[in-house]
């Protein structure tokens, strides 16, 4: 219980001051990296998906039904997007036992690296001294990622994470009253990121992150839109598809 308590306490302390920071850059690609259509086999790891509501004060209220709908819709949308990626995408079969522990560590590592990219690369004013060179994108999970079981025939791993807190009615009413009192209150959190890891070298070759995403993942159309936004700037996609995706934004 102590963990949950601490988390809730921190949330309670911060929620009134939450002002989402707008990322100045959303996409990073390793310089010179291109993915020719039809040349690579991409493995999709189990997407991390959380959907729920946002209480009046801003607490996340997880919703199991919405999350389940989003999981199905995003899965379908990702399968549909395969054509646009120009390469085969297969679902990763999760290992059991000791291998599962290794996979869990790599998923946690990917999350940590992705968060670091968002924080220390996508905000130009916040770049680490070693990441300041122009057009630089040097991030890696380490070459050992290829040793995960079931990845021997694959070239790239695709990670997808989305989190949605839909503003409740109470939150929206509070927003109006707060606006009258000249207090900025936001309703809703919709963030997500997707990344592509080269399984031969462990390098992160592409990352797309957006803290204010569109598309209602609880519905099929919305999930299509969300997946289009998640895969925006994907290095392997044909030029035409990129145009369509940007237009659909």
């Amino acid at each position: 219980m102590r963990f949950v308590r601490t988390m809730l306490a921190v949330m309670a302390a911060t929620m009134l001051a939450v002002v989402p920071v707008q990322a100045q850059e959303k996409t990073g690609v390793k310089p010179g990296f291109t993915l020719q259509p039809g040349t690579a086999r991409i493995v999709l790891l189990r997407p991390s998906i959380r959907v729920g509501a946002q209480s009046t004060a801003g607490m996340f209220e997880p919703n199991a039904d919405w999350t389940q709908q989003a999981r199905e819709n995003i899965g379908r949308a990702l399968a549909k997007a395969q054509g646009q990626l120009g390469n085969t995408v297969v679902d990763y079969v999760e290992p059991v036992g000791a291998d599962a522990a290794a996979l869990a560590e790599y998923q946690a590592l990917f999350d940590a690296v992705a968060q670091s990219v968002i924080e220390f690369q996508f905000f130009p004013g916040n770049r680490l001294p070693t990441k300041k060179r122009k057009d630089q994108f040097a991030w890696s999970l380490g070459a050992d990622v290829a040793r995960l079981p079931g990845l021997s025939g694959a070239d790239y791993a695709l990670f997808v994470t989305t989190e949605d807190h839909f503003g409740s009615t109470g939150r929206k009413v509070l927003q109006v009253f707060a606006a009258l009192a000249r207090v900025p209150v936001t309703a809703g959190v919709h963030k997500g990121f997707a990344g592509l890891v080269d399984l031969h070298t462990g390098e992160l070759v592409w990352l797309n992150a957006d803290l204010q995403m569109g598309g209602d993942v609880r519905e099929a159309d919305g999930a299509d839109k969300r997946v289009r936004q998640l895969l925006e700037g994907f290095p392997g996609r044909p030029a035409a598809a990129t145009v369509v995706a940007s237009a659909g934004r």
Binding site: M1, A9, R50, S55, T56, A57, P62, A64, D65, L103
Partner: protein
């Protein structure tokens, strides 16, 4: 003003609800439902998050998976809360050297390795696990979530509508912690009920907190602070104080009819014995000389076994005052004299003697270490010490 009066009324209502769940009398056990499924949106959401977290914990490298140890701990849980109830729980032993156990709404229970080091009997382990099971059975996670949500909602409205709401906000935050403490007390009370219904003696629950106070005092003294046991909990305290818990658990145990069964001291000691060196090694790295020394003294009540002597020697050598090195060398020698000490005892003895300027005896001990463990990962640096 109306708003403020409304707030005060709601605040009073919350406080009453919190106090209500902390009844002084020991409540009877609630009826049990097998294979419970969450019913409403909030509860299903809480289970979903807990399920996702459990996927991660299940695969975590920090979980101790030894089948014998897991079977033992699980056996104690089942004997405490009953065979039917314990089926709803997945129990994970997590390698963290602190005294804690946790429960999630979906039935994911953890107990930390530091708790295994500090408990003395199956009955005490049952008291801790029964407390956590109480959180699950009483659906505390859900109630706490709702309490925080409605409370923070009120705070958000107050911050917008009420001109000077600081005092109200402080009251509400205090209310969250008071609610948590009431839940912990309710879990303690149901835990002691399980213990009384099992064949374990129910006073074990209070015994734990007596020793926890002793350890906290020893830690404080070791760190040159004043030992401070209070009855009233602080503003931000998530749990009642150890003194309060020891007191009300002791009187609850006296009130309850108790079976005449054994506390299972020997069974507990035998089950933990293979893990004792590792648990002690974790403990002495916590930089808590006073607390560790107290703990070792408690463990050695029946006599100083070799792992205890070795751990005590390491503890003194790590603090490293000249007098500590003399004590440490003595403890290493005692451990070696018992005949079943590991090669590391010779290593520690050698290093302690070396720093006490007793170079030749030190080299003899270090040579013995290298002879017993030629492939040790510090073999080359120890060899240079011997050669110097």
């Amino acid at each position: 003003m109306i708003v403020r009066r409304l707030m005060a009324a709601m605040l009073a209502a919350t406080a009453v609800a919190g106090a209500g769940s902390a009844a002084e009398k020991v409540p009877p056990l609630p009826p049990y439902v097998a294979a419970y499924e969450p019913t409403n949106v909030d509860e299903r959401g809480a289970w979903m998050i807990a399920d996702e977290d459990e996927r991660r914990l299940r695969d975590s490298a920090d979980v101790m998976r030894d089948p014998a140890l897991n079977a033992f701990v699980r056996g104690v849980l089942c004997r405490t809360v009953g065979e039917d109830r314990c089926k709803g729980v997945r129990l994970y032993i997590v390698h963290v050297p602190a005294f804690n156990a946790t429960m999630r709404p979906n039935g994911m229970m953890t107990i930390w390795s530091g708790a295994l080091l500090r408990l003395r009997s199956e009955a005490e382990l049952g008291a801790v696990l029964g407390h956590e099971f109480g959180h699950f059975e009483l659906r505390h996670g859900l109630a706490d979530f709702r309490n925080r949500r409605s409370g923070t909602d009120l705070m958000a409205w107050a911050s917008v509508l009420v001109a000077n709401s600081a005092a109200f906000q402080v009251d509400m935050v205090g209310g969250f912690y008071a609610f948590d403490r009431a839940q912990e007390k309710a879990a303690d009370m149901i835990g002691v009920r399980y213990l009384a219904a099992s064949h374990y003696p129910s006073h074990a629950a209070a015994d734990i907190w007596d020793r926890m106070m002793g350890e906290a005092d020893a830690t404080a003294i070791g760190r040159h602070r004043k030992p401070d046991q209070r009855y009233a909990a602080g503003f931000f305290a998530s749990h009642p104080t150890n003194l309060a818990r020891a007191t009300y658990l002791r009187s609850a145990a006296a009130e309850l009819p108790d079976a005449d069964g054994s506390a299972g001291v020997d069974g507990y000691r035998a089950a933990i014995a293979p893990w004792l060196p590792m648990l002690l090694d974790d403990q002495i790295r916590l930089n808590d000389f006073g607390g560790s020394e107290y703990l070792l003294g408690q463990l050695a009540v029946g006599g100083w076994a070799t792992p205890l002597l070795f751990a005590r020697a390491e503890l003194y050598r790590m603090r490293g005052h000249p007098r500590d090195l003399v004590s440490a060398a003595g403890f290493y020698q005692e451990a070696i004299a018992r005949g079943d000490a590991g090669a590391e005892a010779y290593r520690g003895l050698g290093l302690a003697l070396m720093r006490s300027q007793q170079v030749e005896p030190a080299k003899t001990a270090l040579r013995e270490y290298l002879r017993r463990k030629p492939d040790a990962n510090d073999a080359s640096i120890i060899a240079t010490l011997v050669a110097s």
